[in-house]
Amino acid sequence: MQDIQAAFLAAFNLIVSLDADLFEIVGLSLTVTLSAVAISCLLGFPLGALLAISRFPGRGMIVVFISSLMGLPPVVVGLTVYLFLSSAGPLGSWQMLYTPTAMIIAQTLLVTPIVAALTRQIIEDLNGEYSELLRSMSARRRDILSTLLWDARYSLITASLAGMGRALAEVGAVMIVGGNINHVTRVMTTAIALETSKGELALALGLGIILVLLSISINAALMSLRTNMERFAYA
C-alpha cells in the first residue's frame, strides 16, 4: 500500500517538477512509436486494401500469414532486427544498432501486420457492399481502392490505434535493438524495466502511471479527432 502511495507521489513529483529526464524519455517514446505507426499505416493500409480486393492463388495463405504475424513476440522481432543490424550482420555497415532508428524499424515490423490485417478485414467487408456498384460504374482498380480506403477512413483510425497500443506497450524489441542507453535509446517501457530491476519500485510505478495516462490521452485524442472529422464531414 505504501509502495502504491509512494508511486503516485513519485509520478506526481516527476510531472510537476517538469523533470527533464522524464520528458526526454517520454519524448523519445512518442517519437519512436508515432514514427513506427505512421510508417506502418503507409505500408499497411494499401497492402491490406489490395489484399482485400484481389483474388489470386495463394491469397488465403498470405492472409493467414499476415494475421499470424499480429501475434509476433516482440523479443523475436527484436532479435531478428538485431541480427541484421549487428556489426556482423548484413546491414552492419549502416551502424544503426542501438539508435532510435533501429527501434523504429523493429516497431514497424511489429505494427505493420496488425494494421494490414485489420485493414484487410475492414476493406473486405466494405467491398462486399460496394463491389458490384463500383464495377458497374466502370471504376478502375485504383478508383476502387481509393474509394474503399476513403470510405473506411474512420474505421482505419481504429486499426492504427490497435497498432499504436502494441508499439507503445512493448518492451522486448526496443530493449534488444535500442539497448536502453540513457539519453539515447531509453524509452518509458525500458526505463520501467530498469527501475524495477534496480528495486526502485516507486519510480517504476510512477513511470508506469505516466505511460498509461499517455496511452489513454493518445487514444482519446484520436477518438475525438475521429468524431470531429465525422461531424465536419457531414455538417
Binding site: 457492399e129 460504374m137 466502370s138
Partner: protein, 264 residues
C-alpha cells in the same frame, strides 16, 4: 438495340444458370424479368454488363458485342449501361449529390471526384436529375438519412447521369412498401419513355410488373418460358414459370388494384 443470342451461363459448380437465352429489346422498351428465386434473373442482367461472365452466347448492344470486349472496351461500354440495385447500394457516408455525381466515375478520374471537381455541366445535370426524381431539397443530406424510396430515387438519378442507353434494374422494389414500390416503378418507366431508354427490370412482384411494363419475360431454371405482353400471363403461364399454385387470387387482386391506381 439490345440483342441476346443463345446466352448461356454455367457456374463452375456445374449449375446451369442460363440456357440459350435469345431475345431482342428495342430502344424505349421496358421489360420485366420475372421468375422464382434462382431462376437466373440476376445472372441474366449481370451477364449483360458482365459483372458475371457468360459461358457462351452473345450480348450485343447497338452493334457492339459486349461479350467479346476486352477490359478497356468493357469499361467504355459499361458507362452506357446504368445499373440500379436494391435500395442499399448507395455510398452511405456521402451526400445525395455526391452519390449522384459518382455515376460520372467512369468518365472523370477519381481524384477529380474526390475533390468534387466535377465539370459544371455534370453538376448542373445532377441538379436537373435530382429535381426530376423529386429530391432536389435533399441534395446535401447524407445517404443514410434517407428512406428506402428516397434512396432508390438517388440510385435512379445516379444511373441516369451515366447517360446510359440501357438500364439494368435489379429488384428495385424488393425492400419497399407497396405504395413506394409503385411510385418507383412508375418513375423508372416514365424516365425510360422520356429518354427513349431500354430497360430490363428484375422483379419478384408479378402484379407490379403487369401494372407498369409492356413486355414480360418469364424465366424458369434459366430458360425463357414466356415472352409477351402482361395480359398473356394466364394462370397456366404462371404455373409453367413458378410451378403449381392457385393464381386466380393473385391476378384478380392485381386487376382491382390496378383499376384503383389508374383512378387515383
Amino acid at each position: 438495340m439490345l440483342k441476346l443470342e443463345q446466352l448461356t451461363k454455367v457456374y463452375p459448380t456445374g449449375d446451369k444458370a442460363l440456357t440459350d437465352v435469345t431475345l431482342e429489346i428495342p430502344s424505349g422498351q421496358v421489360v420485366a424479368l420475372i421468375g422464382p428465386s434462382g431462376a437466373g434473373k440476376s445472372t441474366l442482367i449481370r451477364c449483360i454488363n458482365r459483372l458475371v461472365s457468360p459461358s457462351s452466347g452473345k450480348a450485343i448492344l447497338d452493334d457492339v458485342e459486349l461479350t467479346a470486349l476486352g477490359s478497356a472496351g468493357l469499361r467504355r461500354e459499361r458507362r452506357r449501361m446504368g445499373m440500379i440495385f436494391q435500395e442499399y447500394a448507395l455510398v452511405e457516408r456521402l451526400t445525395v449529390m455526391e452519390n449522384v455525381l459518382s455515376g460520372r466515375l467512369g468518365y472523370v478520374g477519381f481524384w477529380r471526384s474526390y475533390f468534387r471537381k466535377f465539370p459544371q455541366k455534370d453538376v448542373d445535370e445532377a441538379f436537373r436529375l435530382l429535381d426530376r426524381v423529386g429530391l432536389l431539397a435533399m441534395a446535401d443530406k447524407r445517404a443514410d438519412e434517407l428512406s428506402g424510396g428516397q434512396r432508390q430515387r438517388v440510385g435512379i438519378a445516379r444511373a441516369l447521369i451515366q447517360d446510359p442507353a440501357l438500364l439494368l434494374v435489379d429488384e428495385p422494389t424488393a425492400s419497399l412498401d407497396p405504395k413506394t414500390s409503385r411510385q418507383i416503378m412508375r418513375l423508372i418507366c416514365e424516365l425510360c419513355k422520356e429518354r427513349d431508354l431500354a430497360a430490363i427490370i428484375n422483379i419478384h412482384d408479378v402484379a407490379l410488373a403487369q401494372m407498369f411494363v409492356e413486355r414480360v419475360i418469364g424465366l424458369r431454371f434459366g430458360v425463357v418460358q414466356f415472352d409477351g405482353p402482361p395480359e398473356g400471363l394466364t394462370p397456366d403461364v404462371l404455373t409453367t414459370i413458378y410451378g403449381e399454385e392457385d393464381w386466380k387470387e393473385t391476378i384478380q387482386k392485381v386487376d382491382e388494384e390496378d383499376l384503383q391506381d389508374v383512378v387515383s
